[in-house]
C-alpha cells in the first residue's frame, strides 16, 4: 500500500504561520491494518493506588503510514509506545485491551516471541541520542549484535549491512565510523546511528519516542527530513511520539491527540490541525508561539493536567474547557466525525462531517 504524498498544500486558514503542508488525505482502504491498538489500558501501581497512564487508547496504522501521537507530558503517549513494544516494567503493567501487530496479538504473548519481534519487525528510537548508545561498546559491536540477535548471518555480511545502513542515514566514511565509540559522535550523529540501528532489520513498524526533542533545531530539521525519506523508501510505518505540533504537521499522515491517557481526537493531519474538533487540540494549537501575536502574552490552556490518580468522571478536560457543560460529566466515547476522523467531545468545534 503506497500512497504518494502529494505536497498539495491546502491553504492554511490561520495565516500560514505554521507550515501545515498537509499530506494528502489517505484513502481509507480495507486492507488489514499493520497495527491495531484497541482499548489499551496500562496502569502503574503507586502508593496512592493504580495510576492509569494509558486509559483506553485505540488507533490503527496501515503499512507505511505515519501516525503522529501528540500530547503534553504525562498524557500517556510514551507509555503507549512502550506498551506496544512490551517494554512496560513493573510497577507498570498492561491490564486491558489488545495490540494486534501483523495479525498477531501482542498483549500477554510469550516474552520470547516479543523479544524476537523487537528490533526486528518493530523497532524503537528513543528520545535522548546521548543515552541510547552504550558508552563502552563500539558502534559496530552494537549494530552487528542487533542483526545477529535476529538472523543467522556471517559477521562479515552483518558488517556490510551496517556500513550500508550508516551510509543511508548520511554518515560519511561509514567503515571508519563503525570502529568508533559513541562519545566520538555528536548528538545529531548519534541519533542518526540510532535511526540506522532501528532500520537495520527492515522493520515493518518504527516507534519513535520524541527522537528529535534533544537535538538543536537545524539538526532536528535534517533528521526529520531523512526520517521521512527513509520510511517512505522502505515502506515502514511510523508512530512518531511528540509534543511538537510543527513536527507532526510536516511529517505525519494522521495524528492522534492524547490527553490524560486517552485519545481525544484523531484524523488526517491536515484536517485535525486546520480545523480541530476537540477544545484541547484547539488549545494546543493556540499555544504554539508562532500562532500568537507579537507583544501579546502567549496564550495558554488554563489550569493544569488533572492527576491521573483522580481523574474526573466524564471528559478529563472539562475543568479547563470553556465550553464545558453539565453534559461533560457523563462518560464520553470517541465518536466518528466524518469518514476518517474521531473526537471525544460532546461539544465538538467541528460539527458536521467534511465529506
Amino acid at each position: 500500500m503506497t500512497t504518494p504524498r502529494s505536497q498539495s498544500t491546502a491553504p492554511a486558514p490561520r495565516g500560514g504561520s505554521l507550515a501545515w503542508g498537509g499530506p494528502a488525505l489517505r484513502s481509507m482502504s480495507t486492507a488489514p491494518a499493520l497495527l491495531e491498538v484497541r482499548d489499551l489500558v496500562t496502569e502503574f501501581a503507586t502508593r496512592d493506588g493504580a495510576l492509569h497512564a494509558v486509559n483506553g487508547v485505540s488507533f490503527s496504522l496501515q503499512p507505511g503510514e505515519v501516525l503522529g501521537l501528540v500530547g503534553e507530558s504525562g498524557s500517556g503517549k510514551s507509555v503507549t509506545g512502550f506498551s506496544i513494544m512490551g517494554l512496560v516494567d513493573p510497577p507498570g503493567r498492561i491490564v486491558g485491551g489488545s495490540v494486534r501487530f501483523e495479525g498477531r496479538e501482542l498483549v500477554g504473548t510469550d516474552p520470547e516471541v516479543m523479544r524476537k519481534l523487537r528490533g526486528n519487525r518493530i523497532a524503537m528510537i528513543f528520545q535522548d541520542p546521548m543515552m541510547t548508545l552504550n558508552p563502552v561498546l563500539r558502534i559496530d559491536t552494537q549494530m552487528i549484535e542487533t542483526i545477529l540477535a535476529h538472523e543467522r548471518v556471517s559477521e562479515k555480511a552483518a558488517r556490510e549491512r551496517c556500513i550500508e545502513a550508516l551510509t543511508r542515514v548520511g554518515i560519511a566514511s561509514a567503515p571508519e565510523r563503525l570502529r568508533q565509540y559513541p562519545h566520538q559522535f555528536s548528538g545529531g550523529m548519534r541519533q542518526r546511528v540510532a535511526i540506522a540501528i532501528a532500520l537495520l532489520n527492515r522493520p515493518a513498524l518504527i516507534i519513535a519516542d520524541e527522537p528529535t526533542t534533544a537535538l538543536d533545531v537545524t539538526v532536528q530539521g535534517q533528521i526529520l527530513h531523512e526520517m521521512q525519506q527513509l520510511v517512505r523508501e522502505a515502506g515502514t510505518a511510523l508512530v512518531w511520539i511528540t509534543h511538537d505540533l510543527a513536527v507532526i504537521a510536516g511529517l505525519a499522515d494522521r495524528v492522534a491527540v492524547m490527553y490524560a491517557g486517552r485519545v481525544v481526537e484523531q484524523g488526517p493531519v491536515a484536517d485535525v490541525l486546520d480545523a480541530p474538533a476537540h477544545h484541547y487540540t484547539r488549545g494546543l494549537l493556540d499555544s504554539v508561539p508562532a500562532n500568537n501575536t507579537r507583544g501579546q502574552p502567549l496564550s495558554q490552556i488554563a489550569g493544569m493536567t488533572p492527576s491521573l490518580l483522580r481523574l474526573p468522571a466524564g471528559c478529563a478536560f472539562r475543568d479547563r474547557c470553556a465550553a464545558a457543560t453539565a453534559l461533560c460529566a457523563q462518560p464520553v466515547e470517541l465518536r466518528p466525525l466524518g469518514p476518517s476522523r474521531q473526537v471525544r467531545c460532546v461539544h465538538p468545534l467541528v460539527v458536521e462531517a467534511l465529506a
Binding site: 517494554l87 528490533g119 523497532a123 545529531g188
Partner: protein
C-alpha cells in the same frame, strides 16, 4: 546532510589516554603506583631475588638466630641484610617470600569475592523482586558483623590452611562487592541504552554481560583495590593471631607475630621490617585505589 564536518570529531583523544593523563596528574598516585609495582616485582621474583630459601630448613642455622641487621653468619660469609629471626632465617628473604604469600592470598580472595559479589549484585539489580530483597538483607547482615569475628569463627570451624583463609576472606568481602555492583547496576539499568538494548530484542544474557557488566566495572575496580588491601591486612591479622596460614608458609603477619616476643628485648627487626613491608604494600594499593576512584568517578571530573 553528509556535509556535516566529521573530521573534527575524529581527532579526539582516546579514553585510555585521557585516563592515563588524569591518573598521572597526582604525584602521590604515581608514587603509589611505583611502590605497588616494586612490591609486585619483588613478590613475583622472590625466588630469584632472595639470597636464601627461607622454607629450606636445612639451610637455616640456629646459631645465626636473632642476629641484628647487617651482621654476617657465624659460619661462612652469608650476609644478613635485615638480620635473622628466631630460627636463624634471613629476614630479607623471609619478607620477600612473605610478601608473595600475602599478595597471593589477598588478590586471589579479592578476585573470587569480586566475581561472586558482582555476579550476585548485578543479578539482584537486573532480576529484582524477592531475590534482590533476600540477597540484600543477607548482605546487610553480613556487613553488620565485624569482619575479624566472622573470619575467626570460620577459621575455627574449618581449620587452618591457605584455602581456608581464602574462604574466610571471600566470605567476609563478597558483600561489599555485591552491594557496590547492585547500586551501580541499578543506576545503569534505568539508563536509556539499557531500554534500547531491550528494544532491539537482545537476549537477557547478552544485555547483562555485554551491556550492563562493563558499565558497572569502574566502581567495582575501585572497591576491588581497597578490598584487596583489606584482605591482606585481615590475613596478616589472622596470621598474627596464629589462626591464619600455616608456619610452613609464613606470610607477613606470621613474621610479625614471630618477632613479637622479642620486641621488648630490643630485637625490633624481626617484627618491624615485615611490618614496614606490610605497611608499604597496603599504602601503595590504597594510594592507587584512591586515585582510581577520583579518576573513574564522573562526578568528580571537571
Amino acid at each position: 546532510m553528509s556535509a556535516v564536518p566529521q573530521t573534527a570529531i575524529l581527532v579526539e583523544e582516546s579514553p585510555w589516554r585521557r585516563f592515563v593523563s588524569q591518573y598521572a596528574a597526582s604525584k602521590l598516585a604515581l608514587f603509589g603506583l611505583a611502590l605497588l609495582a616494586l612490591v609486585l616485582l619483588l613478590a613475583v621474583f622472590a625466588p630469584w631475588i632472595a639470597p636464601q630459601n627461607p622454607y629450606d630448613l636445612g639451610k637455616l642455622d640456629l646459631m645465626d638466630a636473632r642476629l641484628p641487621p647487617g651482621s654476617s653468619s657465624a659460619f661462612g660469609s652469608f650476609h644478613y641484610l635485615l638480620g635473622t629471626d628466631g630460627q636463624g632465617r634471613d629476614m630479607w628473604s623471609a619478607i620477600l617470600y612473605g610478601l608473595r604469600v600475602s599478595l597471593t592470598v589477598g588478590v586471589t580472595s579479592g578476585v573470587i569475592a569480586l566475581t561472586l559479589g558482582a555476579a550476585l549484585g548485578i543479578l539482584a539489580a537486573y532480576v529484582g523482586g524477592r531475590f534482590e530483597q533476600v540477597l540484600m538483607r543477607i548482605v546487610d547482615i553480613q556487613l553488620g558483623f565485624p569482619a575479624i569475628l566472622v573470619a575467626l569463627v570460620l577459621i575455627a570451624t574449618l581449620g587452618k590452611g591457605v584455602d581456608k583463609v581464602i574462604i574466610a576472606l571471600v566470605t567476609v568481602q563478597w558483600a561489599y562487592y555485591a552491594r557496590t555492583a547492585r547500586s551501580a547496576a541499578l543506576v545503569e539499568r534505568h539508563k536509556e541504552y539499557m531500554e534500547a538494548a531491550r528494544g532491539l530484542g537482545l537476549s537477557s544474557a547478552r544485555i547483562v554481560l555485554r551491556h550492563l557488566l562493563p558499565n558497572t566495572l569502574p566502581p567495582l575496580i575501585v572497591v576491588g583495590t581497597v578490598q584487596v588491601a583489606h584482605a591482606i591486612a585481615l590475613e596478616a591479622t589472622l596470621s598474627f593471631l596464629g589462626l591464619g596460614l600455616p608456619t610452613t608458609e609464613p606470610s607477613l603477619g606470621l613474621l610479625i607475630a614471630n618477632g613479637y616476643e622479642f620486641l621488648l628485648s630490643g630485637k625490633y627487626w624481626i617484627s618491624v621490617y615485615p611490618g614496614i613491608a606490610l605497611l608499604a604494600t597496603i599504602l601503595a594499593i590504597n594510594l592507587v585505589g584512591d586515585q582510581l576512584r577520583d579518576v573513574l568517578n564522573p562526578r568528580l571530573a571537571r
